[in-house]
Symmetry: C2
Subunit: 202 residues, 2 copies
């Protein structure tokens, strides 16, 4: 038993270090994509930014596609967790505030990074199936959170499409925010559409 | 007079040829952007695709930025003209059909090309102010057409933001269509929101 404990003590910090390295790489990859786009985002650039050797980076992520799809997925999960934590009371809360928070998912560095990956995937055969699958997974999870926090009853005909349309609008608003600060206009649009949706969800 | 007429006869075909060359370059530029993205779209590649010498291309468009912003603007104008022609009766027509046609503006090769230019502009200082200005101009024109064809009365509080939200949703739906054919889902979302908007515009 004494020997096993010693082995465990050695192993746990090593796993922790490995997890910390992985996380630094993922965060650096998202920042890099947002700032330099896909063309300027290589494993080497990310490794340097994260303060990790290229070899260590490749140990965690054998290919460039592995690194960047994992990065977008990781940050999307972080955002989902944060969003649920914002509304612990779920559907019982303020529905218009939920709409505003859902729209906020599509502004900021994660959306910017995901957009670069998405657009690159439309022209790169190697990237395309990976990003298509990632996008479907993240999209389903976001829809699930939206339904839950809005207290939407999808057994009512049309409700599913109304929630989807809201998320499509949020994505479009994110795109409109890419080159200029579209915040004030966005707030007015969101206020109007949140009211429409509030009525439409009954 | 005889001499002037001869000069005119010589000049008119030359202007026509010049206009035709310009148009071929613009159309090739949009196709090139959609297929190869900004990184793969140079003046040389477009000139070759259009069957025009690089010198002739540079005579029409001195810089790469000139060529691609002009191309997106040209095709956006073509689309606007086509959209107005689809609904010659304007606001008197079927509002839900107008919503579907507005959403269609954001699928297809023009949206794909504009998206590449937009995303590239977010990281390239030389491109950014040009695309920001282009986007604002095209956005205003699209809003104007939407208000006109929907018969929306923007003096009513909230109507302006509802029309804007529709165009934001259309942009988000366009993005969702980039990697996969999202047509069937899009049709269902558009049907639901067109009905809501129809009520909301009174």
């Amino acid at each position: 038993m004494g020997t096993v404990s010693a082995v465990d003590r050695d192993r746990v910090p090593k796993q922790d270090r490995s997890r910390a390295t992985r996380q630094r790489l993922l965060e650096a990859a998202v920042a890099c994509l947002g700032e330099h786009g896909w063309a300027g985002s290589t494993v080497s650039v990310v490794a340097e930014r994260a303060g990790v050797s290229r070899g260590a980076a490749q140990h965690h992520f054998p290919t460039r596609e592995d690194l960047f799809t994992a990065a977008v997925e990781y940050v999307a999960e972080e955002r989902s967790t944060a969003l649920r934590a914002l509304f612990p009371q779920g559907a019982a809360g303020d529905r218009r505030a939920v709409v505003a928070a859902l729209v906020d998912l599509y502004t900021g560095p994660l959306f910017r990074a995901a957009l670069h990956l998405w657009v690159a995937a439309s022209n790169e055969e190697q990237l395309r199936p990976r990003v298509t699958e990632l996008e479907a997974r993240v999209g389903r999870e976001t829809h699930r959170i939206a339904v839950e926090l809005l207290g939407a009853d999808e057994s009512v005909p049309g409700v599913r499409e109304r929630v989807q349309g809201l998320l499509d609008m949020a994505r479009g608003l994110g795109l409109a925010n890419l080159l200029t600060d579209d915040g004030p206009r966005r707030d007015r649009v969101v206020a109007q559409w949140a009211a429409l949706l509030d009525e439409a969800l009954g």
